[in-house]
């Protein structure tokens, strides 16, 4: 029962099909993103969760085509459904052999020329991104007002004064007190939380339909983190934009997500609604991750469940299922040889594990699924 997803069903804003982004180094090829398949629904928040090195950030940067040499997208499609009223919608879409020509308003970002007009009209305007280090993402040489009005004028036909005014409104909107003064400040004069608000204001300046937030709260204090998550949720409710929220913090996932994708070594191992993921996890990696986080209110000094070993270096990628050396349910002779299938367990619910595939298990002489007993 391998997944067969149809092309862009209604409500899908971005569909990633078998995306592979590899880095070609002297020491060999690093398969940072290796066959990612997922979709983002309009107006919903998709959290991408995984440990460092799982390829979540590279995947996000691939969407905006921000991958630099020696990396490149070697395979896959990034199907973005354009705004119906947008000017570029009339352009003919690229024909691909053996594929249904997508709807007129769907564009494959992976096929666009880097630096092309069309790509730049999507990047920043329709898809915006907020990065992890707010201090490092803003230029120290320009005032906040300079940077925000430059971003606005890049995409909207406004005069300098109008753009400044718009920037001021945006800063007020994201909850910055004394916005007029902040417009005149340099980033180093602001706190981390304030810088992240400025980044969010810049990202929102062109009313994107998708906001990609790469660890937007990781560098911030818990108290600030809570308020930034609240802010993003409020802004989403107000503008109806979709969000792709990349994080390693399962607590943040539980707070922010509608749907969750769990990544491990460049692949999606599980996709589920947030409630299913926390209350009915299917993939052994997801289960192990959930067990290894301390839960507040459960009392002190308890030994935490751990996942043995560590995330392998991407160059020493294990054969078969990349998680098998750390997996408690690994079946010798099967998991280390067979690439696990991506099994559809329900609508928008998948898990990449041999344990969900009885036929495959039987062919290797395993009769019952060991995963059930421990749930």
């Amino acid at each position: 029962m391998t997944v067969e997803q149809g092309s862009a069903e209604p409500g899908v804003l971005l569909e990633i099909k078998d995306l592979k982004t590899h880095f070609f180094l002297h020491e060999g090829v690093v398969r940072a993103v290796d066959g990612v398949r997922l979709s983002v629904l309009e107006g919903k928040t998709l959290c991408v969760v995984g440990e460092s090195g799982c390829g979540k950030s590279i995947m996000a940067r691939s969407i905006l085509r921000l991958i630099e040499k020696p990396g490149r997208i070697v395979e896959g499609e990034l199907l973005w459904s354009r705004k119906k009223d947008s000017g570029a919608a009339g352009e003919p879409s690229t024909e691909r052999s053996g594929q249904v020509v997508p709807r007129q308003d769907t564009v494959d970002l992976a096929s666009l020329e880097a630096g092309s007009e069309e790509l730049r009209s999507v990047r920043g305007a329709e898809i915006a991104m907020v990065f992890q280090e707010p201090m490092a993402s803003l230029s120290p040489m320009y005032t906040v007002g300079n940077q925000i009005s430059e971003a606005i004028r890049l995409h909207l036909p406004l005069s300098k004064e109008e753009a400044w005014q718009r920037g001021l409104e945006l800063l007020e909107h994201v909850g910055i007190p004394r916005a007029a003064r902040t417009m005149e400040s340099y980033p180093f004069q602001l706190s981390g939380g304030m810088c992240q608000r400025v980044m969010i204001a810049i990202a929102l300046s062109c009313r994107p339909r998708l906001l990609i937030a790469d660890e937007p709260t990781t560098a911030l204090d818990v108290t600030t983190q809570a308020r930034i998550i609240d802010l993003l949720r409020d802004l989403q409710a107000e503008t109806g934009m979709a969000m792709m929220f990349i994080t390693h913090d399962l607590g943040v996932v539980a707070e922010a997500a509608d749907e969750v994708v769990v990544m491990y070594l460049g692949t999606v191992v599980e996709q589920a609604s947030v409630d299913d993921l926390f209350h009915d996890p299917q993939h052994p990696y997801t289960k192990a991750l959930l067990r290894s986080i301390p839960k507040m209110g459960s009392g002190g000094r308890q030994t935490l469940a751990t996942i043995r070993g560590q995330v392998p270096h991407p160059q020493n990628r294990p054969s078969g299922c990349p998680f098998h050396p750390r997996c408690d349910f690994a079946i010798p002779g099967l998991c280390d040889t067979v690439e696990p299938p991506l099994v559809q367990l329900g609508p928008r619910r998948v898990s990449r594990c041999v344990l969900h595939d009885p036929a495959l298990l039987e062919s290797h002489g395993v009769t019952q699924s060991p995963v059930k007993e421990t749930a």
Binding site: E51, S52, P177, S191, G192, G193, M194, D221, V222, T223, T224, Q225, A226, R227, I229, D230, H248, D249, L250, G251, V252, V253, A254, E255, A257, V274, D275, F278, H279, D280, K287, A288, L289, L290, R291, S292, I293, P294, K295, M296, G297, S298, G299, G300, R301, Q302, T303, L304, A305, T306, I307, Q310, V311, H313, R326, A375
Partner: protein, 364 residues
């Protein structure tokens, strides 16, 4: 392994008594004379006891002075004021705050630090053997094959292969580097270990391994930890007692269970409320308390209670004019708030909406 360890007999005596400790940094104007225009009170009159054998947590937002307090205790900073009474193995008490660096040296073996960032805290040009063995060598405690053996034993104890001794830090992952850091701290057989955000930079699955390791090592070597962290869920997991810091002052100290179930300071309540709960069903459960972003300038702290500018319970009267003392609210529970007894503050987790939830049973 630790002869002369007397913590069992001295249970009544704190291992370290911090008294009215203050650490000020001058704020200088630019220019030829660099005139001092004010002071930043990073640590502003802190008094706390560290009991032998306990894990004392120190939490607060960045800029609250928790790291400075840790650095003052190991005397990488000389405190501006106050005392650090350290209870020595021979029963004597010494004030670390007044010692010269030569006098300090033998005592600094007993107080070691584990730093936060496993990537920048290890010298990339030194092998693991050198990094871990250096403190022993520098203090002349071991050399040659004995040094080698002790390094190997320590590496084995923290879960690293002694065969990797001649590798350089770049060959190790974040979790392994943090194990190297732990080995380096413990090789001197310290009594007090200051773990400054020791697990904050680690991945979830590795963080659990390192937390478990720290706990095992504590039992084995009879260690006392000062565990500095901003992560309230990790702190609850490992600490026996927790001190909450705000703007250079301790605002609440209590046993972990008591602090999480019955906070007595509004700042603690807000910190607990801000922690994202790893269960989507609790998303809108409980009270949501959000602090404003305007953390006061430590060079120019507010009048009265330092927290009154962000406190939702501030009365605009005594809170603004009168500085609350850190006082006993309940047995073993100190808080610095005028209204601790009158406020009904929200605990870390409000009563469960669903006792039979699958998720909660997993951890047991």
């Amino acid at each position: 392994m630790s002869e002369g360890r007397t913590s069992r007999e001295t249970d009544a005596q704190p291992l370290l008594r911090v008294e009215d400790l203050a650490m000020r940094f001058p704020v200088r104007r630019k220019g030829l004379f660099a005139r001092r225009t004010g002071w930043v009170h990073a640590v502003n009159g802190v008094s706390i006891d560290v009991k032998p054998g306990e894990v004392l947590g120190l939490v607060g937002e960045s800029g609250c002075g928790k790291t400075t307090l840790g650095r003052t205790i190991v005397r990488s900073l000389k405190p501006s004021e106050g005392h650090l009474y350290y209870h020595q193995t021979n029963g004597e008490t010494t004030d670390l705050a007044t010692l010269s660096s030569a006098q300090l040296r033998p005592l600094q073996r007993q107080i070691r630090v584990i730093f936060q960032d496993p990537f920048s805290s290890l010298n990339p040009r030194m092998t693991i053997r050198q990094i871990v063995g250096d403190p022993l060598k520098a203090s002349g405690l071991a050399s040659g094959s004995e040094l080698e053996e002790r390094v190997a034993a320590m590496l084995r104890r923290v879960g690293l292969s002694p065969g990797h001794m001649s590798r350089y830090p770049h060959a190790f992952s974040g979790g392994e580097r943090q194990r190297v850091n732990i080995a380096r701290a413990l090789i001197m057989e310290p009594r007090l270990v200051i773990a400054d955000e020791a697990v904050s930079a680690l991945d979830v699955s590795v963080r659990a391994q390192v937390l478990n390791l720290l706990r095992d090592l504590q039992d084995e070597f009879d260690l006392t930890y000062l565990f500095i962290s901003h992560d309230m869920s990790v702190v609850e997991n490992i600490c026996d007692r927790v001190a909450v810091m705000y703007l250079g002052k301790i605002v609440e100290v209590a046993d972990t269970a008591s602090l999480y179930a019955d906070p007595q300071h509004p700042y603690t309540e807000a910190l607990l409320s801000a922690v994202p709960k790893p269960d989507p069903r609790l998303r809108n459960a409980g009270r949501r308390i959000r602090l404003s972003d305007d953390f006061p300038d430590p060079a120019n702290p507010p009048s009265g209670c330092f927290f009154h500018t962000r406190c939702r319970y501030s009365d605009q009267d005594s809170c603004v004019h009168q500085r609350p003392d850190l006082r006993r609210v309940e047995e073993g529970h100190l808080a610095a708030c005028h209204y601790s007894e009158k406020l009904d503050l929200a605990p870390a987790v409000e009563p469960e909406p669903e006792p039979d939830s699958h998720f909660r049973t997993v951890s047991s």
